[in-house]
Symmetry: C2
Subunit: 115 residues, 2 copies
């Protein structure tokens, strides 16, 4: 019950929404998590997540455009990495949520009204 007092400035709200929306996809979360311990070439991400190559490239492009990841090219390999460690804070926040939910302190889905 701590008083958190958020204040996101009105013109930042659009950007904040964009960041959250971008992270709001399972594969992109997985990619970010996988990049946590350093840069990885596309092929390695692909194998790790068991996805076809264009899917990986497309998700990476989305995250590139939105400043979530960056890359470094070396020959024919593109090494992707997190543009900013900050992104991990959001994920670590989510792993806190996971804990709350597993402890039953938060019931995520409203099953009465579930879509």
């Amino acid at each position: 019950m701590s008083t958190i007092k958020t204040k996101i400035s009105p013109d930042f709200i659009q950007k904040a929404a964009r960041i959250l929306k971008t992270l709001g996809h399972p594969n992109r979360i997985k990619i970010v998590e996988y990049l946590e311990d350093g840069e990885k070439p596309v092929s390695q991400i692909q194998r790790k997540l068991d996805l076809i190559q264009p899917i990986v490239s497309q998700h990476l492009k989305i995250m590139l455009d939105r400043g979530i990841v960056k890359y470094r090219q070396e020959g024919t390999r593109y090494y992707y990495s997190l543009a900013n460690d900050f992104i991990l804070k959001i994920l670590s926040c989510m792993s806190d949520a996971q804990e709350m939910i597993s402890k039953g302190e938060w019931t995520l889905e409203n099953f009465i009204n579930s879509n």
Copy 2:
């Protein structure tokens, strides 16, 4: 450069994505922020955010279904509030991001490849 070490369990990733995606809309962020200091009836949210009523109700419904908000009915009024203060942590995380960006420590958009 702190080592954050996220670990979100594979079966929680879907849920995490859903939460983030749900918050990934400007109006929903605004609603959550507005609910920060306590429950509010729909009409008040509507006036505050300058939106038409069905839009507000629909966003509230989405967040209700996903366990972000809850409500309490009193007569013809529906008082909505945050289902869990935890959501605010995510927003406070975003206000940190805002600060980083304003300080130039993070360049969000990749303007070369912007879509």
